[in-house]
């Protein structure tokens, strides 16, 4: 039995890197420090595993599966390559070259989580920081439309509300505000809870900014919040020494989407004229940030890149996977480390089911169910190493703890084989 320390957890965007696991005959038998999800991930990763490649449900050799995948991609006039948020940066990087080679659309799951955050940033920018700045300095913390108690279980203890830093020693020295439509479990731990009407975040953020600028609010109530309360809140934000706004899909998915983020960016930018203020998106999947980073350095754009004319073209709404599917534009798809079928709207799924789909995944999913070609891969961060980017874009190294099942390669290795074959095939 051996113990491995400082393991990086490959579940959520918090990438906690202090996990301790005990390994016994190539199995993880014990997990320390991880949250409930982390513990399950490290110990139950063999549930519903796929052990053999499949074509049309028939078990085949890896080579057959790869040849079939290559044929599908090489013949497609508008293939889409999607997923990427639960694999290594190295694997995504190879996916990008495949997309470039076959003239496809390369999109990652950011388009359906924090894509709007990126769009908001592209119009207004963003004042952000690594999580340690918050831990060391933040006196006031806002969680807006996010519920770390459920989605990022150790975030508050390690990085934010209850973390212990150099200048701010813990929860008692911080003021915590939660803005949400429900009194979430995160809200229950807050000093101030602001229950906002659904789909009115943009109005509240706009009002707050106007109040920070000392403007007069002509409406008595905005987003269900009385004007005086908004003015009080504005004063609190101005008078803290260092404030941090954490925000989630409550902002990016509700009415306004990218514009909600822009309004938040503008509020924070305004606050920096009075004090120090930053904001950090609560990224979900463990390497969705890495997918954005590597796509940006390789193609100039962080997601939704269309290579159909040989060079990168970017326009979310056009080149994003949900839209490509809904319009029925693509004629083949490669899905890596993602399960769109369990998360996409019905119309998109119907169109996905009509085209040949190649899926790389360690596990049976709703997407493997409808896939023509299924290639099982190793679990990144447990059976394969690689780089991943935390929600604040801090890069960390995922460890290989155990050997994958016999004959199972990592996403990176399988994609390399596909790329190699494609280069011979496409000329």
């Amino acid at each position: 039995m051996k113990t491995i320390r400082n393991v990086v957890c490959p579940f959520c965007g918090s990438l906690c890197d202090d996990i301790e696991v005990e390994i016994e005959d190539n199995r993880v038998v014990k997990v320390r420090k991880g949250c409930a999800i982390s513990a399950t991930k490290f110990t139950k990763y063999n549930e519903e595993r796929i052990y053999k490649p499949r074509i049309d449900g028939r078990e085949v050799s890896l080579e057959e599966a790869i040849n079939e995948a290559v044929e599908i991609l090489a013949n497609a006039k508008y293939p889409a390559l999607y997923g990427w948020s639960c694999t290594s940066t190295e694997a995504i990087n190879i996916g990008i070259e495949i997309a470039e080679l076959v003239g496809g659309v390369m999109d990652n799951t950011a388009s359906v989580c924090h894509g709007p955050t990126i769009l908001g940033e592209q119009d207004a920018g963003i004042s952000t920081c690594t999580l340690g700045q918050v831990k060391n300095r933040a006196e006031l913390i806002i969680y807006w439309g996010c519920n770390p108690a459920h989605a990022h279980p150790r975030h508050m203890a390690r990085y934010s509300a209850a973390s212990r830093g150099r200048f701010v020693k813990g929860r008692k020295e911080r003021t915590v505000i939660v803005v949400d439509v429900r009194k979430t479990h995160t809200a229950k731990t807050a000093d101030i809870f602001i229950q906002i009407k659904p789909n009115s975040d943009f109005e509240l953020l706009t009002a707050l900014r106007w109040a920070v600028k000392n403007g007069e609010l002509e409406q008595e109530e905005i987003a269900g919040i009385p004007a005086e309360k908004i003015e009080e809140l504005a004063d609190m934000l101005i008078s803290c020494r260092f404030g941090a706004l954490f925000f989630g899909l409550g902002l990016t998915m509700s009415a306004g989407k990218a514009r909600n983020i822009e309004a938040a960016v503008n509020l924070v930018r305004e606050l920096n004229n009075y004090t120090k203020f930053v904001m950090v998106p609560m990224r979900g999947h463990f390497n969705v940030t890495g997918a954005n980073e590597v796509m940006a350095w390789a193609t100039g754009f962080p997601f939704a890149v269309d290579f159909s004319r040989g060079y990168p073209f970017y326009n979310p709404g056009d080149t994003t996977f949900v839209d490509v599917l809904t319009r029925g534009d693509c004629d083949a798809a490669l899905i890596v480390a993602s399960d769109p079928v369990s998360g996409f709207p019905a119309e998109a799924i119907r169109n996905l089911a009509k085209i040949p789909v190649i899926t790389l995944d360690p596990h049976e999913t709703l997407t493997t169910m409808i896939s023509k070609v299924v290639i099982p891969t190793a679990v990144v961060g447990i059976e394969a190493e690689g780089s991943a980017y935390r929600m604040d874009a801090v890069p960390l190294r995922l460890k290989k703890l155990v050997e994958p099942p016999p004959g199972i390669l990592s996403d990176e290795e399988v994609l390399k084989l596909i790329l190699k074959k494609l280069k011979e095939r496409v000329k």
Binding site: G125, G132, Q133, G165, R166, P302, Y314
Partner: protein
């Protein structure tokens, strides 16, 4: 693999070769005395032959550069090139993709480029991008002046341990030199504040910008690092800051021993006279005077080129001022216990008084500083313009006519206030070779770069222009055209560019320094540092370290220290 470059006019200042017609022999990636008769021959008759260019300061990789790419899709739409059998797709103008950066530098005849500022915590990201920059050799400077562990040690006067920590961090993170960015000011930016003078306190640390600079300058010597400290001054971007710049140079003059011990970067941005944007004037004459009288200083220009730029620095408070001035979109990204970064898109306009003054400052510096071995060509890419504009800047230095043509188009008030019209100096090809290759390689102490002597790396640029016949002063347009697209670029003995097109692609080396630190000292230091890490950082010390296997092509340079 053997190469023979025949009959070119060679400019190799390190070996004092000034336009001699001669052959260059290449074998196995190195320059050699001679090659066999079956060597591939390149006929360089009537062509200009130089060592491959060495860029000492450019923002090409890492979290800050990538933030610029993500922030500015509008920068990319129009500047694209489809994939070819040899090259990946090209995309981006002021903040191009990694592949684009490699190809474009190679087309200019540049073969070595250093990323100018990497925050340690995000240096893994820097290396992941460097791994994806093709053709050129590269490295990165580590930003260390606002690092809490460094500041703790300096405040406590524990300079040995501080040196040991910095030595260790180069080994752990694979960097090349100590970068200093607005010392003290960036730490205070953590609270939305800044410093205004070299002697402001930096609470809670018992230190000042002056003490930080002097401390790091001493440590640089103790560690015997190949490059000097590489410094972005306090008060950068503020009218009147040329005084701070000279004071900064002078604060380490007593530590010098005949050799340069400080490099001040993109001096254009810290060469401002006057006391407001209205009274702004060039501080270049004063700075040039100091540099001419003190041999412990080297500088690079940060030359402004009119048009689109993306400002990106580790100087958070400066970028905050800039976003307020312009109202443009603004990204700020602070890094725990280490520093910050800011990005603001910017467009330099001829008719804008401030921009016009900025344009004159860079050129005045280059023309008024007498020793070309201590003033280097940069645009602080992409802060003052992209590196693609180097040929344009070179023709401004080589041709008074070219300068006057621009002078007649810029803001009148700026022209009137500038000494530039009165300067007649014109650079020679020999001097251009110095400020773009020889001197930068020497300043970086890269023994095998920047020259064509036997044993040097076979990094060679050949331009289709006859230096014996052309008059750069008049025919500057021809010079510019030739320098834009090298006739040949040779990297490590391989022909990578022919007639301005990429003909071969591979990944160059990433070099980094590996200082030898006494074991017990390192142990003591690490014991303390791992404790501090738990309090200061959100990652473990183990996961902070970058393995050599994470570099695509790692080239460690062992360094004997004086510890």
């Amino acid at each position: 693999m053997e190469l023979l470059i025949k009959n070119g006019y060679v400019y190799d200042p390190i070996n004092k070769i000034n336009g001699e017609k001669m052959d260059i022999a290449v074998k196995d990636g190195k320059i050699v005395e001679s090659v066999s008769s079956d060597a591939k021959v390149i006929d360089a008759t009537n062509m200009l032959v130089m060592p491959g260019g060495v860029d000492i300061h450019s923002h090409i990789a890492g979290s800050k550069v990538n933030s610029g790419r993500i922030l500015r899709p509008e920068d990319h739409y129009k500047d694209v090139k489809p994939r070819t059998a040899i090259t990946r797709a090209e995309v981006g103008h002021t903040v191009p993709s990694t592949y684009t950066i490699g190809y474009r530098y190679a087309r200019l005849g540049y073969t070595t480029v250093i990323e100018a500022a990497s925050p340690p915590l995000k240096t893994r990201h820097t290396h992941e991008e460097l791994n994806d920059i093709p053709l050129i050799d590269k490295s990165c400077y580590l930003v260390l002046d606002n690092n809490w562990i460094v500041l703790d040690y300096l405040s406590q006067g524990e300079i040995d341990k501080c040196a040991a920590f910095i030595g260790w961090i180069f080994k752990a993170l694979k960097g090349y030199a100590i970068k200093i960015v607005n010392p003290g000011g960036v730490e205070l930016w953590g609270w939305g504040k800044n410093v205004e003078s070299l002697d402001d306190q930096v609470p809670p640390f018992d230190t000042t910008p002056r003490e930080i600079i002097r401390g790091l300058c001493k440590i640089n010597k103790m560690l015997n690092l190949p490059h000097t400290i590489h410094l972005h001054t306090n008060n950068l971007g503020k009218p009147g800051n040329y005084r701070t710049t000279i004071e900064t140079m002078d604060t380490v003059s007593d530590l010098a021993d005949g050799k340069p011990n400080i490099h001040i970067t993109h001096v254009q941005f810290c060469g401002y006279g006057g006391d407001s944007w209205i009274t702004l004037r060039s501080g270049a004459p004063e700075i040039a005077k100091y540099v001419n009288n003190h041999n412990h200083v080297t500088i690079d220009l940060g030359q402004v080129v009119f048009g689109d730029a993306t400002t990106m620095t580790g100087d958070g408070p400066f970028q905050f001022i800039l976003q307020n001035l312009t109202g443009n979109k603004w990204k700020n990204a602070d890094v725990e216990a280490e520093g910050s970064a800011g990005i603001v898109p910017y467009k330099y306009k001829r008719k804008n008084f401030v921009n016009a003054v900025q344009w004159t400052i860079g050129l005045e510096l280059a023309l008024l500083i007498k020793d070309p071995w201590r003033v280097f060509l940069t645009t602080d890419h992409p802060n003052a313009g992209t590196f693609m504009k180097y040929p344009r800047v070179i023709t401004w230095l080589m041709s008074k006519v070219a300068r006057e043509k621009v002078l007649n188009k810029i803001n009148k008030r700026a022209k009137k206030r500038s000494t530039l019209p009165s300067i007649d100096r014109e650079y020679t090809f020999y001097e251009i070779a110095i400020i773009t290759r020889a001197a930068t390689a020497k300043a970086l102490n890269l023994a095998n770069k920047g020259h064509l002597g036997v044993g040097a790396d076979a990094d060679i640029a050949i331009y289709n222009i006859n230096p014996m016949e052309i008059d750069p002063s008049k025919e500057y347009k021809k010079v510019r055209r030739a320098l834009k697209r090298a006739a040949y670029t040779i990297k490590g003995g391989e022909i990578i560019v022919k007639d301005g097109e990429i003909v071969k692609s591979f990944i160059g080396e990433t070099f980094w320094v590996k200082p030898a630190i006494p074991e017990d000292l390192e142990k003591d230091m690490l014991r303390e540092v791992s404790e501090k890490f738990k309090e200061y950082y959100t990652v473990s010390l183990e996961n902070y370290i970058i393995g050599e296997n994470e570099l695509a092509s790692s080239k460690p340079i062992a360094v004997k220290t004086n510890l």
